[in-house]
Every structure is written in structure tokens, then in C-alpha cells.
């Protein structure tokens, strides 16, 4: 008995230690900034017009992005659910690729498509301008809509066959089906998605940096970057950072409290019966599906003509080898560490949920995902300043990048793994206890249940780590360059063909990873 309690405690301690380490990274970063300047935040900034316009724009663009992404994702998810359309698996894989697409690749594609000399720009009239709110919204929708489609589709799949059979028996009208079956099934997903997408767009950095500009199209995150890079005004950066942390953090907490994920959905549900849509609806679903394919593929295809814009014959492909390898190794190590940390952090959360200590579970969940709402720029610069006197960051900065990349992808791993593990606990915890399964047996039983989710989670965070540029743009050095940083430097010096080539390569690697992991998941 003592031995089993000790094992139980050691799991909890490992989980709490991982959580403490994650919190420590954020605390150390803020401490680094405050300690360096010897000043706190500049609260007078709150009444400044500049601050207010940035805050308003951050909220406006995030709210619009979220609203449009969800409104557009819903018909796509319905088309997939009702439509029985060809190549659905490929479409869903493409959705993942879009969600994790390195921002720089997307921006290069969007500029090639809708920029000043873009392929589609002549069709859009003279007043069209990609830069500003237009471009930011398009990029945010492109990144988040496919993710929303997958989540909404999953929520629709969780509707039991029996509900549909009952609806048919009771001769429900389409409106009744929508109101009494579909909307209640989607409500939780809508709520969670709206919070998640809002927070992602509110904290958006690379998209706004590339397509925004000026106080009229700047988010808090970009303003923090500008305050640190151009003025090195730490009090201003801190004020902006606290604002971002408080607003995004509070919203995230609210959504976590109000939203109900569908982890109680049980695996025994069978999906063999969905109502057949009418002929008009069927054509509508097909049209929506076709447009979605086009919308997702066009920015990728637009990269290809860029290759012919200048002479690539002088370009040595070997210039891409080292950055590609560095990116892959960095992403692999970051993702492996992040998924281990996430798994460990979920142990005390699962225990709190099982003991019905919901408030404790919520606090732990918030702490485990807090780096999603903490300003990445503050964390990177704060740690940089803190560590600069102790480490040669020019040569060993790669370790810091690894740490930061890992910290930034951990919340995604937690978000993805949590519902499946909680579902396992809800479904099988009593049975496991009653069967007196040993630790090894528990693992043997739990692993096949969690394996498909584990694989897709690992792929997701691997891809996110692969494309991250927010941090690397500060720490990158000549000793080691990553592929996103290379694209950034090519685009910065208007070497569009090279930027397109590097973007295509990065996209190809991402697509290969998505394909390989989707295959592994299906076989799991």
C-alpha cells in the first residue's frame, strides 16, 4: 500500500514540477525585464491615444477574425458531415496543414496572390490593398478556419445515431433538426473555438507585423516588439504586456469555465445513420466544399510562379540544407520535450478532476496553458536579458530558442491530449481501479486508447515548432539559421524567388509530416 501511494505521489510531484517549471519561465521573463530597467510598467500609457488605438485594433481584428472564421467554418463542416463528398480525408489533412502552416509561407503566398502585383489583384479593383485590416483578416481566417472546421465536424460526429433516428421518427423539420439537435451539439465547440481563435488572433504577431503597420493596424504583441526593438522602452513594453496577459488570460479563463468540451463522448457511439439532405442542399454542400478546396490551395499554388520571377541558376540549393536540418532537429527536440511536459502536467489535472476538485483543476489547466496568452515577445526578450550576462547567447542561443519554442507549444499539447485523457478517466477509471491494474498494465491499456490522439498531437506541435519565427527573429545568428528565418531574411531583401523556393520547401516538409502522421494515426 505504501509503495503504491509513493508511486502515486511521485507521478503528482513530476506533474507539479513540470507545471512549476513552465510558470517559472514566464515569471523569470517578467523578472528579467523589470530587473533590467529597474522600473515597472508605465501606467500613464493607459490614457494615451496610441495605447487605446492599439488596444481597440487588437480587439477589433481578433473579434472579426474569430467571427468570420466561425461563420465560414460552419457551412464547411456541415457540407463534410452531410455531403458524402469525395477526398474528405485529404481535405481534412489539408486543414491541418493550413492551421500549422508557417506564417511566413502563408504571407509569401498571400502576397503573390493578392499583393500589389498579385495574380488575383487585377480582379479586385483599384482600391484593393492587402496591407492593413484586409490582409490581417484574410491571413487569420486562412489559419483558423480549417482548424474550426475539424473541431465542428468532430462535434457533429458526436451526435448519436439515435438522435437522428428519433428526429426522423418525429418528423422534424430542417429547422427543428438544426435547433434541437445540431446547435446543442455544436454549442460547446463554438464557445471554446471562439475563445481559442480570439486569443490566437489577439496575440497574433508575424501576420500583423508583415501585413499591418502603423498604430492603425498594430496589435499589442507587435507594439511590444516595436517598443523593445526601436526604443528599448521597457516600461511601455511591460504595460502592453500586462494588458495583453490580463485581457487574453481573463477571456481564456472565462471560456474554460463556460465551455464544455465533449470529452464525455463515449467510443461505443456508432455512426451509420445521418439524415439525407435534399437535392438543393446537396448542391449547396458541393459548392461550399469546392470553394473551400480552392481557398485553401490557392495561396500555396501562388508560390510556384514566384520561382520564375528571377534567375535561380546562381542560387545554390546547399544554402537550404543546413537551415532545414537545424529546423527539423529544433522542432523534433522541442516537440518531444513539450509533449512529455504536457503529459506530466496533465497528471495533477486528471487527479483533481477525478476527485471533483473542479476549481483546482481549472487553475492547474490555466497554468498549464498560460503561455498561450502570455506575450511571446516579452517571454523571449525577458529571458534573453536575464540570461545574457550568464551565457554566450550568440553561440548558445539555440538552447534558449529550444526552451522558448517548447514553452510556446506546450499549451497546444495540453489542449489536444486533455480531452482524450479525461474521456479515458471518465470511462475507465473505476474499472481500472476495480481490476487492480498495475502501473505497467494501466499503461498497456491506456496507450492504445490514447495513441491516435498522441500521434496527431505530436504532429501538430512538431509542425508549430517547425514554423515558429517570432522568437528566432531575435535570437538567430550566423552560426545557425532556421528555414523560417531564412525566408524572413530573403523576403526582407526582396529576393522573392529564393523566398518562394524556401517557402515551398518548408511547406513540402510540413505536408510530408502531416501525411506521415495521418497515416500512422489511421493505422494506430
Amino acid at each position: 500500500m505504501i509503495l503504491s501511494r509513493l508511486k502515486h505521489h511521485s507521478d503528482t510531484v513530476a506533474g507539479l514540477t513540470s507545471l512549476a517549471a513552465m510558470v517559472l519561465i514566464s515569471v523569470a521573463a517578467f523578472y528579467g525585464l523589470i530587473g533590467f530597467s529597474g522600473q515597472g510598467a508605465d501606467w500613464q500609457l493607459l490614457s494615451d491615444n496610441y495605447y487605446q488605438s492599439i488596444l481597440l485594433f487588437s480587439i477589433k481584428q481578433a473579434a472579426l477574425s474569430m467571427l468570420l472564421a466561425l461563420l465560414l467554418a460552419w457551412p464547411v463542416a456541415r457540407a463534410l458531415y452531410y455531403g458524402r463528398l469525395p477526398f474528405q480525408h485529404s481535405f481534412l489533412s489539408l486543414c491541418i496543414l493550413c492551421f500549422v502552416m508557417p506564417t511566413l509561407v502563408l504571407i509569401t503566398g498571400l502576397v503573390a496572390l493578392l499583393g500589389r502585383d498579385g495574380l488575383l489583384t487585377p480582379l479586385l479593383g483599384e482600391s484593393w490593398n492587402l496591407y492593413g485590416l484586409n490582409g490581417i483578416l484574410i491571413a487569420h481566417i486562412y489559419l483558423n478556419l480549417p482548424f474550426a472546421v475539424r473541431v465542428l465536424l468532430q462535434a457533429l460526429h458526436n451526435i448519436p445515431d439515435l438522435s437522428w433516428k428519433l428526429a426522423v421518427q418525429l418528423k422534424f423539420s430542417p429547422w427543428q433538426r438544426l435547433r434541437l439537435i445540431e446547435l446543442p451539439a455544436l454549442r460547446g465547440a463554438f464557445l471554446q473555438l471562439s475563445g481559442f481563435i480570439f486569443v490566437l488572433c489577439f496575440n497574433s504577431f508575424a501576420v500583423v507585423l508583415a501585413l499591418g503597420g502603423g498604430p492603425r493596424a498594430t496589435t499589442l504583441e507587435v507594439a511590444i516588439y516595436q517598443a523593445l526593438k526601436y526604443d528599448f522602452n521597457i516600461p511601455e513594453a511591460l504595460t502592453l504586456a500586462w494588458s495583453q496577459l490580463l485581457i487574453a488570460g481573463a477571456l481564456f479563463l472565462l471560456i474554460a469555465r463556460a465551455g464544455r468540451s465533449n470529452w464525455l463522448a463515449v467510443d461505443t457511439l456508432s455512426h451509420q445513420f445521418t439524415p439525407q439532405p435534399g437535392l438543393f442542399s446537396q448542391w449547396g454542400h458541393r459548392a461550399v466544399y469546392l470553394l473551400s478546396w480552392l481557398g485553401m490551395l490557392l495561396p500555396m499554388l501562388a508560390l510556384i510562379p514566384g520561382l520564375y520571377q528571377s534567375d535561380l541558376s546562381r542560387f545554390s540549393l546547399s544554402a537550404l540544407v543546413q537551415p532545414t536540418l537545424t529546423s527539423l532537429v529544433l522542432a523534433l527536440v522541442s516537440a518531444s520535450t513539450a509533449i512529455t511536459l504536457a503529459w506530466l502536467m496533465l497528471i495533477p489535472i486528471r487527479q483533481a478532476r477525478l476527485q471533483q476538485h473542479n476549481r483546482r483543476a481549472m487553475v492547474l489547466e490555466w497554468l498549464s496553458t498560460h503561455s498561450l496568452v502570455a506575450p511571446a515577445m516579452v517571454i523571449s526578450v525577458g529571458l534573453y536579458i536575464l540570461l545574457l550576462p550568464h551565457f554566450d547567447l550568440d553561440h548558445h542561443g539555440i538552447w534558449l530558442v529550444l526552451l522558448l519554442n517548447c514553452a510556446l507549444v506546450v499549451p497546444y499539447a495540453v489542449q489536444q491530449l486533455r480531452p482524450r485523457l479525461l474521456q479515458y478517466d471518465a470511462q475507465y477509471q473505476h474499472l481500472s481501479q476495480n481490476l487492480k491494474l498495475s502501473r505497467r498494465q494501466r499503461w498497456w491499456v491506456e496507450w492504445p486508447f490514447i495513441k491516435p490522439t498522441f500521434i496527431s498531437t505530436f504532429a501538430l506541435i512538431l509542425l508549430l515548432a517547425l514554423g515558429d519565427v517570432a522568437i528566432i527573429s531575435i535570437f538567430g545568428s550566423d552560426d545557425w539559421t532556421t528555414l523560417p528565418l531564412l525566408i524572413y531574411s530573403y523576403a526582407g531583401s526582396y529576393r522573392i524567388a529564393e523566398a518562394s523556393l524556401a517557402s515551398l520547401l518548408l511547406l513540402l516538409i510540413c505536408a510530408l509530416i502531416v501525411w506521415a502522421f495521418e497515416r500512422a494515426r489511421h493505422h494506430a
Partner: protein, 199 residues
């Protein structure tokens, strides 16, 4: 002997109270209207519900201090008795401290007419087939107390008869102390030494 001594459990603002004893090797049927607390009693004995007063003793030793994993109890729940992602064979082998008794499991599978389902996964089985598989494992596990919560609810009349007679035979052969929650009088007649009505 299993003793439930002035046990009180609070559930949704209501205090449920229990007082009973079951001799070693006895089969006790528990009946009563829905919501009276039959399943709650089994959950408390298995260690999933904490009582607010009283005691539960097995052979004179209190069970209260023991976590669910260490109680001498094998329980059949109303649902979720099988891991959906494991095969029937893998499911049957769980819950034994050493090697699972292959011979006994095979014989039971034949007796309960599920021997051709061993390599299938639970989602492909009917409710009655799943229930029979869960009954086999619950009875064959080396725990002296067996708690059965509506074990035959999903079975048709002929498999019901088959399952009750196998359960009776198996429980007697292993000297199991069985608490059986059921709404069916025929289960009581076929299986139980004694029946009590809760509420």
C-alpha cells in the same frame, strides 16, 4: 462475513442508510425501487463512494481505510465493463494478479457461448454478448466478494437462464460472497440464497 454496519451515505441531499450482513459464500439479492440506493451501496463497498458514517467489514476487518484498488472486491458495473479499444481476449485477461487462468476462461467462454468472439473488439458486439463477457471476468477474478449491478438486464430469456446458472455454479464452486442488484424476481429465484428490499 461481510458486514455493513450503520452505514450512511449522502447523495443529492438525501441520507441513505444501510444495515446488513452477508455470510461467506452466500448470494444476496438486493431489490427496491429505482433511486433507492442499490447501486450506491455496491459503489461504496467497491470504494468509489465515501460514506459519511458507519463501517463496512470483511471477515472482521474494516474496508473503509482501503482504496478501491486494494479492496477484495470484483464488481460488474451497469455499463463500461470492457475497454472498447482492446479485444475481448485482452479484456478477459485483465484483473488477475498473475497469469490469467486460460483454461477457466476458455471453459467459461464456451459455456456462455462467446468463445468465437474472443478476437473481436467490444464495439462490434451486442449488449448481451458484452454482458456475458463481463460476467465471466467478474466471477473468475480471485476476489472473495462479487458485486453484480443488474448483470442480466440485457440478456434474452434463454441466455439469461444460461448466464444465471453459470454464475450460480461458478460462485458456489469458488465460495464467492455475492451481492446482486436486480429488478427481476426470476433472478432472485434462480440465484439468490436470500433477498432484501431496500427503502
Amino acid at each position: 462475513m461481510l458486514e455493513v454496519d450503520h452505514l450512511a451515505i449522502e447523495r443529492d441531499g438525501t441520507l441513505l442508510q444501510y444495515q446488513l450482513s452477508v455470510a461467506t459464500g452466500e448470494i444476496l439479492a438486493i431489490q427496491g425501487r429505482s433511486g433507492v440506493g442499490k447501486s450506491t451501496l455496491l459503489s461504496a463497498l467497491a470504494g468509489f463512494v465515501a460514506p459519511c458514517q458507519g463501517d463496512m467489514r470483511w471477515q472482521g476487518q474494516s474496508l473503509l481505510g482501503l482504496p478501491a484498488e486494494q479492496r477484495p472486491v470484483s464488481m460488474l458495473f451497469q455499463d463500461h465493463n470492457l475497454f472498447e479499444h482492446l479485444s475481448v481476449r485482452e479484456n478477459l485477461q485483465l484483473g488477475f494478479s498473475g497469469k490469467a487462468p486460460a483454461e477457466a476462461l476458455n471453459a467459461a467462454s464456451v459455456a456462455l457461448q462467446v468463445s468465437d468472439l474472443l478476437d473481436k473488439k467490444p464495439p462490434t458486439l451486442s449488449g448481451g454478448q458484452r454482458q456475458r463477457i463481463a460476467i465471466i471476468r467478474t466471477l473468475l477474478r480471485p476476489e472473495p466478494i462479487v458485486l453484480l449491478d443488474e448483470p442480466f438486464a440485457e440478456l434474452d430469456p434463454s441466455t439469461r437462464q444460461l448466464a444465471t446458472s453459470w454464475t450460480l455454479h461458478s460462485a458456489r464452486a469458488q465460495q464467492k460472497t455475492v451481492l446482486l442488484v436486480t429488478h427481476q424476481q426470476e433472478d432472485v429465484t434462480r440465484l439468490a440464497d436470500r433477498a432484501i428490499e431496500l427503502g
